[in-house]
Symmetry: C2
Subunit: 209 residues, 2 copies
DNA sequence: TAGATTGTTAATCGATTAACAATC
DNA sequence: TAGATTGTTAATCGATTAACAATC
């Protein structure tokens, strides 16, 4: 991939742009200036223009941005125009919540299989999918061209599962286990650490009193 | 609260320090230098010392840091030494996953009640709690000194619930609804936006290929 | 054309890293 | 004491904001 080095700060704002532009589209708004967007999204107009210009000149002087076109462009930048195949490992409440959330499929992420190591729930059906035995992960990943592994398992065992997924060719991990995974540097890991999030809330509430 | 302005960058590293120090404690390690910690946590030694010195001089020259003492101190800084009472609204899969996670209680966060608006699940029992009708939120918050509202509801209705919680005196919101809430500035909101997280993963996988 | 707003360069601000005197 | 490592100041790096010429 070409592209200069985009900072993580910019990258993490992209989904917000995408979401706000989508909301505007839903409300049939057709164009917006960086100043107007600034007022609803909470970034400065200057930052918005800087961010967008990392990827191209999507605006027009004197006019602003066409919302539909910009929304589409940011979707492409985020890679939402291509499909990703995922498997989800750990079909407890959290895993089921994620498997059931329709928003992911709309964005091109398809969960192709659910796995768990617990014999009590192997064989149960969640949506259209039967929960499969974790033993079958390797075969399934290869047969179904799986790109992403979603780890909804406890801390213990998460690293071992990550190793197995990496070994059979997975490229990205969405990690809900409350720990940092050790993976080769070409493997992308996105962590969702609920404990860290809650502790941050705790800190801020304490400071605020 | 006293304390100079601590940047969000520092604040979001605190739970990581707390976690890594806890792991070291579990392994009966007693002391560590910023250089050693640097190697396992992945921040520079300089940054670790800078971060910690925002809150006090916890180390000792020539020795390093006592892990148990530092762990305790960071726990206090995070406000984990005090109890927080929470209610959780939206008792679907995600809500149940959070209600069932024992790690939060260990850190002083007690979920006192679960609420939902869906008559089909009102009355069901999750752990020791019956799911209550969302109508009863206001009375419950006042009677049980609730500090935190955990929003595990869809986008629609999340803002209205936030308004109601703020109106009855809640101080913090842990928001899992995929949108930004509008609240008075003295109310703390910590967002967990799974869609944004997934889109970030998507972007990074695309860039990486 | 006149007005509006972008794209982009320059200035500022803040966060990270480096360096080292203090001291255990 | 000598060696190690902190706490803290200074230097560097990067991100945000401001400004404005270009242009629709």
């Amino acid at each position: 991939m070409a592209g200069k080095n985009i900072s993580m700060a910019v990258i993490r704002r992209l989904p917000k742009y995408y979401r706000y532009l989508g909301d505007l589209l839903d409300n049939d708004v057709q164009r917006i200036s960086s100043k107007e967007l600034s007022e609803i999204i909470g970034f400065t107009a200057s930052q918005i223009r800087q961010d967008l210009n990392n990827f191209g000149g999507f605006g027009q002087q004197g006019y602003g941005y066409n919302i539909e076109a910009l929304h589409t462009e940011i979707g492409k930048i985020l890679g939402l125009d291509r499909p990703y195949n995922a498997i989800l490992i750990g079909a407890g409440n959290l895993g089921q919540a994620i498997a059931n959330y329709s928003g992911f499929r709309k964005a091109g992420f398809e969960i192709k299989g659910l796995f768990d190591a617990n014999p009590k729930i192997i064989g149960l059906k969640i949506r259209e999918f039967e929960i499969l035995d974790s033993d079958k992960i390797e075969d399934f990943v290869k047969e179904n061209k799986i790109d992403i592994g979603i780890l909804c398992v406890p801390k213990n065992g998460a690293q071992e599962l990550a190793d197995r997924l990496v070994a059979c060719g997975i490229k990205g991990l969405w990690n809900f286990a409350p720990m940092d995974l050790n993976v080769p540097e070409d493997i992308i890991v996105e962590n969702v650490n609920l404990t860290e999030s809650l502790f941050t809330l705790s800190y801020l509430m304490k400071e605020d009193e």
